[in-house]
């Protein structure tokens, strides 16, 4: 499968096939991550996170591939590792920075945004499963409210909508305090 075909699969939301294809690069990425100090126990998570980021990015209509997908994925993973690894020694960090700047400069990676998203991910874990389902159906699967109300057994589209806003409110509230902490860390 060519990179373009993989991207096409992703855009067609055939994620599983795309991911399976991308997983073929896992050993290579794993080695690179090892080289820059990522511990065995974290490598798989980093790669999975990287894959999610790749899927997200390639879905965007303005995404343009300037390298091989595998390179792109490696770049994301390295960025992700650099951003998440507070415990890297300064030397390793510098080496990693140089590598990223030299080889993977084309990879867009917003440290701050990723940091925030990591928080939101944990926040999503804290809200009800029903809420999660609702939000997923609405935002990820682009289902209409009427349809959602039907699938999830809400009495009306309106009550589904209200429920959705309530879920959002909950998430917003949690996010507000957490993001505040992130920006103003307690000394």
């Amino acid at each position: 499968m060519t990179d373009q075909e993989i991207i096409q699969h992703i855009r067609d939301k055939k994620f599983d096939r795309a991911v399976r294809e991308l997983y073929k690069h896992e050993p290579m990425i794993r080695r690179t991550l090892f080289k820059y100090g990522a511990p065995e126990t974290l490598v798989l998570e980093i790669i999975n996170d990287g894959l999610v980021l790749l899927l997200e990015k390639t879905q965007q209509p303005d995404f343009q591939l300037t390298s091989k997908l595998s390179t792109y994925l490696t770049g994301i993973c390295l960025n992700h590792w650099r951003n998440h690894s507070r415990k890297l020694s300064s030397k390793e960090k510098v080496m990693l920075d140089i590598e990223i700047a030299n080889t993977y400069a084309f990879v867009e990676y917003d440290d701050e945004k990723e940091e925030k998203l990591r928080l939101l991910d944990t926040i999503l874990e804290k809200i009800q499963d029903r809420c999660k389902q609702l939000l997923r159906l609405f935002y990820f699967e682009n289902k209409r409210m009427a349809e959602i109300a039907n699938t999830m057994g809400f009495s009306s589209e309106k009550s589904a909508k209200t429920q959705k806003y309530k879920c959002m409110e909950k998430a917003h509230k949690l996010a507000k305090s957490e993001l505040h902490n992130l920006e103003n860390p307690v000394a």
């Binding site: 991911v19 300037t66 998440h84 700047a101 945004k113 935002y139």
Partner: protein, 1005 residues
């Protein structure tokens, strides 16, 4: 809906772009004013992204190949635990320091606290502070169950003052011990006397063996204050004696005295810190007036009692501390006995065995072409049952030459090795079964050679058993043996006792010989300090059947100076040999072994306790160290290793660098069987006597010095009636009871002035109407003509005892102990200092490395900084471009003229047919340059070009220009220039020139 929800609904609509244009404008106006709304919009954006990501992650995880089970619970960071790797270095160093201190205290306190120790140690493994793992390799339990009845000992303070016909001044401290007379019994008394009572040793007045529980009454009088308080004059008739300690032992049954059965004897050991071989055992015979006369002297038999080999330590004094202070070495961070042993035993194994010649199946064949320096040669070395002709096979195991033989390393386990060696006309076939050795040695076997001119190792008979042969090659010893003064011989480069021979004697086979005694350990420690002492060491080994003092004498004869004196002193101890099959032998052996182990146990506990207490403190250091390690683990280890090896050199006074040979040595694996012993737990010397009687016994010798002439000093007293006047020579444990003359009493001294008598004491004691009266005066007999004792005081018994303690502050024994203690403290301090220096040096090295690293880091950071700057410049450039296209920005529309090249047009330039078509076109048209193909040049070329408004490409540039890639770059440029026209980019509805970058990848299959 609530207003809050209403607001969220608006935010959601805005983010999802489902608002009408007017609504959007209104919302944006609101947003511009209210940062809270801006935040909420951002959060909403993030929330949607997060929701999508979660869904995507579900897909990713679902598609993860099954072999990679994803442990996904919680965030990455929460599961991240950085390993603290360097932690144990610090622990090791500190523990060792403490261990030594703990040991110091042990020695100091052991005397006073003996009883407490015993009771504490009955359940040694129940201590909570002790970790299970330590218990496991302790292996103390089974043997420490050996209990010598301390719990039944009672120290009784009665008012009775009559014991065995002696009337004491004060009521003595009597220890009453209940004994089952039908069993062998070992008793340890309060002041350290050990008494072994054989079974069925007591008979009553009718001569019948007593089987009921017997009470042993014991009084120890080992110090002068007690000797005086108990009226124990040290006299044999009119002859003066000096005492090495007195004891009263009386078995009793229901208050009646019992006797010893015929042929039975009590084995009594009286501890001493200053062994005097002239001492004899005397019997106390009462004179009927409440006084004792010492009669019937009996020679003291100074035989040896072996202990378990594992409780002895034959390594040079201080070696273990040195190892502990200089760790880590290789991967070892904490010291252990096994590690110290292996380091020690590996010393002296230096040179590679130069030649491995093979003479298959002809062990006696002569061929000396390839002989090494000593003419030793391996003829045949084979593995298993079949011998090999393959030279390489023989080389599989490493052979190293030590001074006295060859050590094989990396031998396969569980295989029989046979090797044939010859020198000159003699040949020996040796077969070694490594299974015998694997626990301790892991395939390392030391083989020593017998050669002409020296007797085979006399213990060979023991070692030859079980296919294990050990020979000694004394001619391989290079030192000049003709020089009788070994202490002054400087000719030998390596003049220490060969560790492998120490290893050889440290085997259970020798446990029945004098090698397995504390006394031999003492001698070996002394030998370790003497240069070229190997032949002296061998003297002991070759004469195991002789008395120890005879060998001491031989050794002393070969030495000179202070070393000679040491061994003469050893010889003067007149120690004999291990007494075979002594009745008390087993019990004593067990006793000493258990004592030794208890000491070890205490040290271990102290270590544990310390480790526990300072865990928090250490953790902080560990963290720090871990951080350091992260930076330059490798460098650091090199430094440590360097010091570890250097220091072992230094301690032996040998200078050549040995890092290489040390690191190639195959270390013994730590064996769980080996216990962690401590070398400095000394066993006190003792006078050992088999005593065929009960009542008072005295270890005394004649005070010959007193009979050299006679200088008298009269002691005047007002009323001599019922009074006892003693002449006491404090430093000699001598107490003479003076006879009254017409003038009173006469103390007498040798005519020639002697230091030991300068501080004499005249002491008068009387007891009238139940009241004790005392008078005492110190005098120097050579400056005093007469003494008058006129200041008599009435004192209570307790006051008397207290005063005696002041008058006799422990005597010689105490002084010696104090001196020893001081010496030990000083030595400990010095070791501590040395360890501190080592640490400092290492610290300095580390700091140097730190500096170097800081520099390196600064350079790296400078590089990063440059890259960052470049990126920032690029970013600001992009920002600048963005501003061009941002209608809200003041720079908007200032460019984008026809000639302007737009970086990010609204609609990007496109290849006719799209990206896929472009790829295909490239693939179809690319011509891999032949030359590049031959040279194997591959790579990725980034090409930037401008798509003109007419769709043609211009300004073609290579972005990652590299001289090596010249050929490929040319092809890339050719390719781009030959492209069919593109659909040009558009901005604001008109065609613009736009930049485009494409990567062209050249790969060879």
């Amino acid at each position: 809906m609530r207003p809050e929800l209403e607001q969220l609904s608006r935010i959601d609509s805005y983010v999802n772009n489902t608002m009408s244009a007017s609504e959007t404008a209104a919302f944006e106006a609101e947003m511009a004013k209210d940062p809270a709304i801006r935040d909420a919009v951002e959060t909403q954006n993030l929330l949607i992204t997060a929701v999508n990501r979660k869904a995507l992650m579900a897909h990713v995880v679902a598609a993860t190949p099954p072999t990679m089970a994803p442990p996904r619970d919680g965030s990455i960071l929460s599961k991240f635990k950085w390993p603290i790797i360097l932690s144990s270095v610090v622990v090791g160093a500190l523990i060792t320091l403490f261990a030594f201190k703990g040991n110091e205290e042990d020695v100091r306190e052991s005397h006073e606290n003996l009883h407490a120790n015993i009771t504490n140690n009955i359940n040694p493994t129940k201590n909570e502070g002790l970790r299970a793992s330590l218990e496991a390799d302790n292996q103390v339990p089974s043997e420490s169950n050996f209990i010598h009845t301390p719990s039944k000992t009672r120290a009784v303070q009665s008012t009775r003052r009559q014991f065995g016909g002696l009337e004491t001044w004060v009521a003595p401290e009597v220890q009453q011990i209940e004994v089952d007379p039908t069993q062998n019994k070992l008793i340890e008394c309060k002041d350290g006397t050990v008494i072994f009572v054989p079974e069925n040793a007591f008979v009553d007045e009718n001569g019948d063996v007593v089987t009921e529980t017997v009470t042993l009454e014991i009084i120890e009088a080992l110090t002068m204050d007690k000797i005086v308080a108990y009226n124990l004059a040290t006299m044999n008739g009119a002859k003066a004696l000096k005492s090495g300690g007195m004891i009263y032992v009386q078995p009793k049954l229901n208050g009646t005295d019992l006797n010893l059965a015929e042929g039975k004897s009590l084995h009594i050991e009286i501890p001493t810190s200053e062994y005097d071989s002239n001492m004899q055992a005397w019997q106390g015979v009462p004179d009927g007036n409440g006084n004792l006369n010492w009669e019937n002297p009996q020679e003291i038999e100074n035989y040896l009692v072996p202990v378990a080999m594992s409780t002895l330590d034959f390594l040079p004094f201080g070696f273990r501390e040195e190892v502990a202070a200089t760790l880590p070495f290789k991967n070892y961070r904490t010291s252990s006995k096994a590690l110290e042993d292996s380091l020690y035993f590996a010393l002296g194994i230096e040179k590679e065995f130069e030649e491995v010649a093979e003479r298959v199946d002809s062990p006696v064949q002569k061929d000396s072409n390839n002989g090494n320096k000593n003419g030793l040669k391996v003829l045949n070395l084979s593995l298993g049952s079949h011998r090999t002709r393959n030279r390489d096979r023989a080389r599989d195991f490493k052979m190293k030459r030590g001074l006295g033989g060859i050590i094989f390393q990396n031998l396969p386990k569980n295989k029989e090795i046979s090797a044939t060696f010859y020198k000159g006309k003699q040949s020996y076939v040796t077969s070694i079964d490594t299974t015998l050795l694997q626990t301790d040695l892991v395939g390392t076997v030391s083989i020593r050679f017998a050669t002409e001119g020296c007797d085979p190792f006399s213990m060979g008979n023991v070692l030859v058993e079980e296919n294990k042969i050990v020979y000694v090659d004394c001619s391989a010893w290079k030192c000049d043996m003709a020089d009788e003064s070994f202490a002054s011989s400087e000719s030998c480069e390596k003049c220490y006792i060969e560790p492998s021979s120490v290893f050889a004697i440290h085997q259970p086979e020798f446990e029945e010989t004098f090698l397995a005694t504390k006394e031999f350990q003492e001698r070996l420690q002394a030998l370790h300090k003497i240069k070229n002492a190997q032949p002296l060491f061998d003297l002991y080994l070759n004469n195991l059947e002789k008395n120890l003092h005879e060998i001491d004498q031989q050794v002393a004869a070969k030495l000179s100076g202070p070393n000679k004196a040491i061994f003469e002193a050893f010889a003067a101890e007149k120690l004999t040999n291990v007494r075979p099959n002594g009745q008390e032998y087993d019990e004593l052996k067990k006793f000493y072994t258990s004592q030794s182990k208890k000491q070890q146990e205490k040290v271990r506990k102290a270590q544990q306790e310390y480790a526990r207490k300072s865990a928090a403190e250490l953790e902080a250091i560990q963290n720090e160290m871990a951080q350091l390690r992260m930076n330059f683990l490798q460098n650091q280890q090199d430094v440590y290793a360097k010091y570890a090896t250097n220091s072992t050199n230094r301690s032996r006074g040998v200078s050549p660098p040995r890092t290489a040979s040390l690191s190639s040595v195959n270390y013994f694996q730590p064996s769980p069987r080996v216990q962690n012993t401590n070398p400095q737990v000394g066993q006190q010397a003792a006078y050992k006597v088999n005593w065929y009687g009960t009542g008072w016994m005295n270890i005394d010798s004649y005070l010959h010095e007193l009979s050299k002439g006679k200088k008298e000093v009269p002691i005047h007293v007002a009323d001599a009636k019922g009074m006892k006047i003693y002449q006491s020579i404090n430093s000699l444990n001598t107490l003479l009871s003076l006879n009254s003359t017409e003038d009173g009493f006469n103390a007498y001294f040798p005519t020639s002035q002697s230091e030991m008598f300068e501080k004499s004491l005249a002491l008068g004691v009387t007891r009238a109407d139940g009241q004790l009266k005392v008078a005492a005066q110190f005098f120097n007999p050579y400056t005093t003509s007469a003494i008058t004792l006129n200041e008599w005081e009435t004192v209570t018994e307790d006051e008397f005892k207290r005063r005696l303690k002041v008058l006799y502050p422990g005597g010689r024994r105490m002084l010696k102990a104090l001196k020893d203690e001081e010496k030990r403290a000083r030595e400990a301090l010095e070791r501590q200092k040395r360890a501190e220096e080592q640490r400092k040096k290492r610290q300095e090295e580390l700091e140097k490395l730190q500096e170097q690293w800081d520099k390196e880091q600064a350079e790296l950071q400078a590089k990063t900084e440059a890259i960052r700057k470049r990126q920032a410049a690029e970013r600001s450039y992009v920002q600048h471009l963005e501003n061009f296209i941002n209608p809200c920005h003041e720079d908007f529309g200032k460019a984008a003229s026809d000639e302007e090249v737009v970086a990010y047009p609204d609609k990007e330039a496109q290849f006719p047919g799209g990206t896929v078509e472009f790829m295909r076109w490239i693939t179809d048209n690319i011509q891999y340059p032949k030359e590049a193909m031959e040279k194997g040049i591959q790579g990725k070329i980034y090409v930037q070009f401008v798509v003109e408004r007419d769709g043609s490409a211009s300004n073609v540039k290579i972005m990652n220009s590299d001289p090596k890639m010249k050929l490929l770059e040319a092809e890339a440029v050719r390719l781009v220039q030959g492209m069919p026209p593109w659909k040009s980019g558009e901005m604001d509805g008109r065609k613009v020139r736009s930049h485009l970058r494409i990567p062209i990848i050249f790969t060879l299959d």
